[in-house]
Symmetry: D2
Subunit: 141 residues, 4 copies
């Protein structure tokens, strides 16, 4: 699944490139989009009292991006057993140059406790199911 | 009352100066500090269910600031009748150069409704009292 | 001219609304879009060594916005004499509710000095010309 | 080496915790502080035309932090051969609870090219020398 983000002026820093912390935010934009696309939008989850905190995040910066660049973010659901979820991301600029490879790990919580989506909300888990184990290379096609 | 903020790298933009949106955030840092100093810290207010949304904000940028600059923010409680609050700010860099003059207006809300702090929480309102009508020039001394 | 911005999760704060500093950033997104639309994109200006710092900014918050809201930002070029530029903004959520009225003032600089676009770059100034004096109400239609 | 950051209101999100992207920014604050402490401040490096882009960043979130928390960030220079630099970080809240373990990798560039600090600027490299290979556990003491 691919999502696009245009680099804003306020996302640049004095090195005249995108500040590296913004890629972590774009990963979140991508997840929000992904959840929307599969029919489990984050605001629906939150209205059910379910939040999805980030447990781990990592980015390898492969190239710089600049103000006005349109970054295509492709993501795949590398792993999700109902409890822990892992997402992989690849970001390319409008010229097809790879700028960032990233990963994030998440859980789902309700009332301050980690929950098993597969057991507690099988009807939501099912929406993730067809996407689990996706390959990033496949996802980019 | 004066509060200091050191300009961070991630607060700069490709013009190699502090991005103008950050001054609005520093105004908030100043208010948090002010509330702390007068004995009505924001986390105490929030634990009582009281929030203080921003109704209006304005900034006149008088000079640029750069990475590493230490900005002194002086603020005064220009007005507070228990319902609406107005705060004035003057920001200077470490060389004493004026960089920003700003204002903000706020109210206090509980359960989604505007409240009169003077009537509902006189003991908190009293903590603001000695500071109401302060002069920014005085405050800077 | 109207531009849309979807409220991101990272733009919210613990009041569960959009943090007020983000509206200042969206005003910038709008200006970038405006310059692009009239054929004077900011990266073109910057490649000519022209920057456009913000001199003044003000926001009246008329309503809250939340995660996932799609905010429509309408802007008009209230004033531009070649030296100082004033832009007005009106922001509405997807239900048509007014959430913010804002203004910003700018100048254009080259090599650290304020320039008169009308005299120095009449061919660029002409691109602004048809939009000067626009009415925000008109612009919103 | 330890540096402190107080969590700001604007750093929180609607989950009522610090947004995870801010930890990446605090890592940068720590590096700026580290470079200052060892006598190679980033603004000095930048005035020499040297920038230090982030090549890789990773965070493991071990606990949440909230508005007003004072986060102590301890860092150590795990590795630096003059070309590539690796920094480790441990963050604890004011109660001593571990909230984040992080790593970042950097290089140094001049005129768009990666440089070897050891060869090109041995007098700066020497300032890093006593800190290379530091142990995070040691650093926290």
């Amino acid at each position: 699944m691919t999502y696009q983000h245009k680099v804003q002026y306020y996302e640049t820093d004095m090195m005249k490139i995108t500040h590296h912390s913004n890629y972590v935010r774009w990963m979140e934009e991508m997840r929000v989009y992904f959840l929307e696309q599969i029919g489990a939008p984050m605001d629906m989850l939150e209205s059910m009292g379910i939040v999805s905190p980030v447990i781990e995040v990592s980015c390898e910066y492969k190239g710089m991006t600049h103000f006005g660049d349109v970054v295509s973010i492709t993501a795949c659901l590398a792993e999700f057993n109902g409890v822990k979820m892992q997402v992989y991301y690849a970001m390319h600029d409008q010229n097809g140059a790879l700028c960032c490879l990233a990963k994030s790990r998440h859980c789902f919580m309700k009332d301050g406790k980690i929950i098993n989506m597969k057991k507690k909300y099988p009807e939501i888990y099912e929406k993730f199911l067809p996407h689990i184990g996706e390959d990033l290379e496949e996802s980019q096609k």
